[in-house]
Amino acid sequence: MNLNISAYVVFVFLMVFIIVYVGRYFYTNGRVFIISLLKGNVSLADSINRLLLAGYYLLNIGYAFLKIKDWKKINTLEVWCSSLALNMGTLILILAFMHYGNMLAIYYLSKSNSITHKLF
C-alpha cells in the first residue's frame, strides 16, 4: 500500500466522522432557533431541520471525496503529515465558515421577524 492510498483512507474516515458528528451537533442545537423563527410550528421546523441536515451531509461529504482527485504525490512521511493536515484543515475551515454564515443568517432572519424581535 503506498502512502497516497493510506492518506486517502485516513482522510476519508476522519472527515466523514467529523462531518457526521458536527452535523448531529448542529441538528440538535439548531432546532430551537428554527422553531422560534417559524413561531412554534414544530412539525414544519423538524422537517426543515432534517432537510437541512441531509443537504449538509451531501454537500460536505461530496466535497471531501472530490478533494481526493487533486492530491499531490506523497513520497515521504513528512509530506504525508503535512498534506493530510493541509487538506483536513481546509475542509474544517470551510465547515467553520459555513457554520458562521448559517448563524448570521439565523440572526438576520430573527431580526427581521417582528414576533421574535420582541422576545429576544
Binding site: 451537533y25 430551537v32 432557533f33 515521504t76 513528512e78 503535512s82 483536513m88 474544517i92 467553520a96 424581535h117
Partner: protein, 132 residues
C-alpha cells in the same frame, strides 16, 4: 528519505495546538453561558443552544486553522532549528487564539447591549434615543 526532525516537530506541534484550543474553548464558554443567560433572558434552552453553536464554530475555526498552518517549509537540520521553528509556530498560534478569544468576548458584550436595548424598547412604548 523523510526528515525525522520535521516529523517530530509535527507530532509535538499538533497535540500542543489541540490542547491549547481545548483549554481556551473551555474557559471561554464556561463563562460565556452566563452572558448567554443574560442575553436570552430566562430562556435557558436558547442560551444553551447558542453557547453550543458558538463553541462548535470556535472549535472548527481554530482546529481547522491549526491544521492549515501545520506545514513547515524550511528543511530542519538540527535540534536548534526544530526548537526555533516550533516555538515561532506555537507562539503565533497562541496569539491568534488570544485574538479569537477577544473577538468572541466582543460578540458577547455586543449581544448583551443589544438585548438590554430591546428589553427597554419592549417595556417602553416610546422609542428610546440611543446614547453615545
Amino acid at each position: 528519505m523523510s526528515n525525522t526532525y520535521t516529523v517530530a516537530a509535527y507530532f509535538i506541534y499538533l497535540p500542543i495546538a489541540l490542547v491549547l484550543t481545548w483549554l481556551v474553548a473551555k474557559t471561554l464558554f464556561q463563562n460565556g453561558l452566563i452572558f448567554m443567560r443574560d442575553i436570552f433572558f430566562g430562556r435557558e434552552e436558547m442560551a444553551k443552544a447558542t453557547t453550543a453553536l458558538f463553541k462548535s464554530g470556535f472549535y472548527l475555526l481554530n482546529v481547522g486553522f491549526a491544521l492549515y498552518i501545520l506545514k513547515i517549509y524550511d528543511a530542519l537540520t538540527g535540534m536548534q532549528d526544530t526548537i526555533e521553528v516550533l516555538s515561532s509556530k506555537i507562539g503565533s498560534f497562541a496569539i491568534y487564539l488570544g485574538i479569537m478569544l477577544f473577538f468572541n468576548l466582543y460578540l458577547f458584550f455586543r449581544g448583551k447591549r443589544a438585548s438590554q436595548r430591546r428589553r427597554v424598547e419592549a417595556t417602553n412604548p416610546t422609542p428610546v434615543t440611543p446614547q453615545s
